[in-house]
Symmetry: C2
């Protein structure tokens, strides 16, 4: 990463030559960050002085809105060179963000091969293997020897996203075997690749969700996985650098959905409007649900007027019960997210949660009784035992819902993280308050004060 100091030096020198040699020497990702932080006019200048190959690499590291800005600011021929040289998967990602009219113009200018590659990728739905794959891989015919294969890899286009795996196909492009460059280097030069390459294929289908592709590569420690269509024909590969991004994206999405931030991940530095759009729906939803929960309390106002210590006690078991529920919910959703558990483990997890809840329930219930005894005026002390009992029950309800709800979502093929923390705590509040206040009302009827 560039230190602030280096940035300032680069800024201050009006000498473009010095800036030029500096920017051409640095890693593309660092230059991308540097350019992103500049003002729009400076951005176009800094970008124009880059060497062509550096400009192409740097372009892929810029955020979509700045890519679009540069596309509008640069000459058409320059834009065309950059877009033509981009990797097909990065190009597809850019096209997703650009206005349709710009995409159409750019697509027309692309060479046939690049246009076809982009069209293939754009043909698959977002979030699938087909959409994140690249079409630049090394393909070998079955009959080659190891020496010929290595020679072929050496002559391959330097653009191939990885040369560390080569894919062996038959005449119909059907994927037959996979061989790593490592296997080739360690084999005798005159061996047939058929005898070196493995037919134990680990592959993804174009329609496989990207998080499953990531889990597959993680499980088998792969640097790239081949993607095949329904006829088992090789159409692309997904590489490890994409997988790292996918895993991080999915984790961010899970973590944010749990907190009630909706629809894709929100960057910490996005605009206030984006922030509101991502969060307000959940807040209004939660408040809406709370209308139900609070309507459950509203009829009990007389009881509360009689025993005001209830207003002190209720927030405690609401908050603590909510925490218990969120703990179980989070562990379950994360377990599903990293592929550690599946819905068929539901009973096993539930049994563990309920066993653990016995201890938790006892300790929280007793603490609740103790606390209520301290706060309640002498005449209301009996309330303490109802509070302890409801706290204990609440713990069981919380872990059960926290486990079963995401599992049920997963079984219904929905996103388990849609059961967010706020949704669960609201449900738990409603259940807890109704049980508690009903119990107190009943007691007041049987033994009127």
């Amino acid at each position: 990463m560039l230190t602030q100091e280096v940035r300032n030096t680069l800024f201050d020198v009006a000498d473009l030559n010095q800036l030029k040699s500096g920017l051409n020497r640095l890693p593309a990702v660092d230059v991308g960050e540097f350019i992103t932080d500049l003002s729009p006019e400076r951005r176009a200048i800094a970008f124009r002085i880059l060497r062509k190959d550096q400009a192409i690499s740097v372009f892929e590291y810029l955020p979509p809105e700045i890519q679009e800005e540069l596309i509008n600011a640069l000459h058409d021929s320059q834009v065309f060179q950059i877009v033509e040289a981009m990797r097909p998967d990065d190009r597809a990602e850019l096209f997703d963000e650009l206005p349709a009219i710009v995409v159409k113009r750019l697509l027309q200018q692309l060479s046939t091969a690049e246009r076809r590659a982009t069209a293939t990728i754009l043909g698959y739905p977002e979030g699938t293997a087909g959409r994140v794959m690249t079409t630049e891989y090394v393909q070998l015919r079955q009959g080659l020897t190891v020496e010929q294969a290595i020679e072929k890899i050496r002559q391959a286009d330097q653009d191939k996203e990885t040369i560390y795996y080569a894919y062996v196909t038959d005449d119909n492009r059907k994927l037959m075997r996979v061989v790593s460059l490592r296997q080739l280097l360690f084999a005798q030069p005159d061996t047939l690749i058929r005898d070196v390459a493995s037919d134990r294929l680990i592959q993804a289908r174009t329609e496989m969700p990207q998080e499953e592709v990531a889990q597959l590569m993680k499980r088998y420690d792969l640097l790239a996985v081949p993607v095949v269509d329904r006829e088992d024909r090789l159409v692309g590969i997904v590489t490890i650098d994409d997988v790292v991004d996918i895993l991080e994206e999915e984790a961010t999405e899970d973590i944010q959905k749990l907190a009630g931030v909706s629809g894709g991940d929100e960057a910490a530095l996005s605009s206030p409007l984006v922030t509101m759009r991502k969060r307000l729906p959940w807040l209004v939803g939660v408040m809406g649900l709370y209308i139900g929960a609070a309507s459950a309390i509203a009829p009990f106002q007389k009881v509360i007027a009689l025993v005001p210590v209830l207003a002190v006690i209720m927030p405690i078991f609401s908050n603590t019960g909510g925490t218990v529920g969120i703990q179980a919910l989070t562990v379950t959703i994360r377990g599903l997210g990293v592929g550690e558990v599946t819905p068929k483990d539901t009973l096993k997890i539930l049994r563990k949660e309920i066993l653990a809840a016995c201890g938790t329930s006892l300790s929280l219930g007793l603490t609740m009784i103790g606390l209520s005894l301290i706060w309640a005026p002498p005449k209301d002390r009996w309330v303490a035992f109802a509070a302890g009992l409801v706290m204990a029950i609440n713990v069981f309800v919380a872990v059960t819902l926290g486990t079963l709800l995401p599992m049920a979502m997963k079984r219904l093929k929905l996103d388990p993280a849609m059961i967010s923390g706020p949704l669960l705590t609201t449900m738990l509040d409603a259940i807890g308050f109704i049980i508690f206040l009903s119990l107190i009302s009943l007691a007041l009827k049987v033994f009127p004060i």
Copy 2:
């Protein structure tokens, strides 16, 4: 992954030969999973019939408790072969889990080279680059030509964790350059590697936290990163497969800490006792904090008895305010976790959060007034405006604390995820309740009912 069907077939055949050929053909990770699911006696049998090289690979995929069980069940000579052949980083991980006396015995039996490698790794604190690195990498001298370098890689031990990068060092083992196998293959055979290899070193120090190593490799799309000691001498490399695990582990830890699950990540299927140990401290802590919060309400019991609709309203703005706070907290902590923002962005983020809060605050405040008007009996309707006002204030307090607290933790070099959701909501409740009830008491004093 093995289907349940395949498992049953493998189980049912008493024919060990068939099981043997089946287990020797499958990927090691699948066999590891299969063996983990067996009963202890069957485990030892299944493991014994594996081919030696397969046994070594499979062993690395077994959970530590089963590794320990097998170490006790197998012959010493068998155990020794396996441990000797393990990768130094995996071996260090195993030794972490084993009783000290077993580790001592195993270390004594290792060859000098392997013992030294393990001791080096175990010498670094957990969670640092030194601890997760491996010492099996390809090292080249500066004077070689490309052809000689490729030949050297070909002759290298097949055990090297990656051969896709080679590291060029001087006579004092100081790291000078890095070259990828790709660069070597595309270069002229008689070029000096000095002229092909890059001196733009991206490297980690042994004491660098593992998550920073992961972020570094992610940023520069590296398959491996060299690790150097304080004298810039090459001591190991960290490979991408470890990074994928580290990133996932760190995400799980963040997500669980946010939900108040303490100390490392909890597996969805861990034992009830582990579950209790990880969660109860937070629950008791949260309840403890709530004693403070509730003590703030306790003195207001008379006010509540006079205006019981307060007990209906308070849980709503407690829950909604908590949700607002958790949203801001989560986005900030995740932003820090993936390295997207740093404490110097605090003001930028705070400005965005406060701008977004203006809209949120207005809509939630108005909703609150509406709801309170519906529930309150006619004489208490004035309370609605206080509720709306406090709700609006609460939103600003929530986003401010949700942003500033984790940033402050980060600045103090503490883990930002220690500010968990339950901790924040408890603080927000206390603040909200005190402001609200004080406001109401004041109003009642000025305009007694």
